[in-house]
């Protein structure tokens, strides 16, 4: 290649470089949807106890057993000695949701499985049982739809129990996962119990009721 030709080639290369292609932008558009799920609200009271309270429907009646702590009403007994009592548990749209981030509704006395961190892990015969997880004073619960998200739902026996307004328990009743059922005995409060017949992990519990 002669020097003349070499110069021509260099000029051609410069022309190529200077005529850059149009800049192109690539946009990647994606949508992420995040939902806010308001779960149960638990309302408890402390106090009341057996103190006499003028005008109170329960603690304002002398001579009648059972103040708010279940003991005889006594004049002069004050303070917050009545302990803590569940007054109500309100679930938006009458749907209880358990995702195992907290143990607020776990009955730690009767539960034998491991729970927490977003799931409950049951092995054979282990039990997951709740405290009262639905309670609107004066309103009976007469039917429920019990749904459990699990890797082995067939290994789980589902039961619900209603209680009267003052906490008297009715018999446990069996439910089928995802099937609406009417209670034999209704009540203002409700608890659930799950018993395993093998290993299973539960990620979420939904209980709709009316």
């Amino acid at each position: 290649m002669g020097l003349t030709n070499l110069g021509g080639n260099l000029q051609q290369t410069r022309d190529s470089v200077s005529s850059e292609p149009d800049e192109q932008s690539v946009y990647i558009v994606s949508a992420i949807n995040i939902g806010i799920e308001v779960g149960p609200t638990k309302i408890t009271t402390a106090g009341g106890g057996s103190a006499f309270i003028i005008g109170h429907p329960t603690n304002g009646v002398l001579g009648t057993a059972l103040g708010m702590n279940g003991k005889q009403v006594i004049i002069g007994l004050g303070g917050l000695g009545g302990g803590s009592a569940i007054q109500q548990v309100i679930n938006p749209n009458s749907r209880f949701v358990e995702r195992f981030n907290f143990d607020t509704f776990i009955d730690t006395s009767n539960t034998t499985c491991e729970y927490g961190g977003g799931s409950a892990s049951l092995t054979n015969t282990e039990i997951l049982q709740s405290e009262v997880m639905a309670f609107k004073s004066g309103t009976d619960i007469d039917k429920a739809l019990f749904r459990v998200s699990s890797d082995y739902p067939s290994r789980l026996t589902l039961q619900l129990q209603t209680l009267t307004g003052n906490g008297s328990a009715n018999p446990w009743e069996s439910f089928t996962n995802g099937t609406l059922k009417t209670f034999t005995t209704t009540g203002e409060q409700m608890k659930y119990k799950i018993t395993a017949s093998g290993t299973a992990t539960i990620n979420k519990i939904l209980i709709d009721y009316s």
């Binding site: 992420i32 949807n33 109170h56 981030n101």
Partner: protein, 114 residues
């Protein structure tokens, strides 16, 4: 693309800090998505809340002391953002508030994929 567990949990952590107050009222109308607050708030029950976050959930705990809300029938409750904007509203059966009762209200909220 997926929304990771880490992302959902962080969203819960962030959102937890947005809710700062709770309050009781005496309204009895059924809750509605168009509600902008309580029907009839009891001023001295407006208190700061405690919060706790775990995984994709968080809890808001509000306490009404023995000196607050007395002689009212408490029937509705809300959580508020720091500027007073309403977050939720529930209606309960009446709770007669007297000066020897303390009321604790715990609300659980989850951040979820939809």
């Amino acid at each position: 693309m997926v929304l990771t567990d880490t992302g959902v949990n962080k969203a819960a952590e962030v959102f937890t800090s947005f809710l700062t107050k709770g309050q009781w009222g005496t309204g009895t109308a059924d809750p509605s998505v168009s509600n902008t607050g309580l029907g009839s708030a009891i001023p001295d029950t407006l208190n700061g809340i405690g919060t706790a976050q775990s995984g994709n959930g968080f809890q808001c705990t509000h306490t009404t002391s023995t000196t607050e809300g007395n002689d009212y029938d408490l029937t509705e409750y809300e959580l508020q953002f720091s500027d007073g904007t309403n977050f939720n509203r529930l209606v309960s059966a009446a709770i007669g508030k007297t000066n020897n009762i303390r009321i604790t209200t715990i609300t659980t909220v989850n951040i979820v994929r939809v």
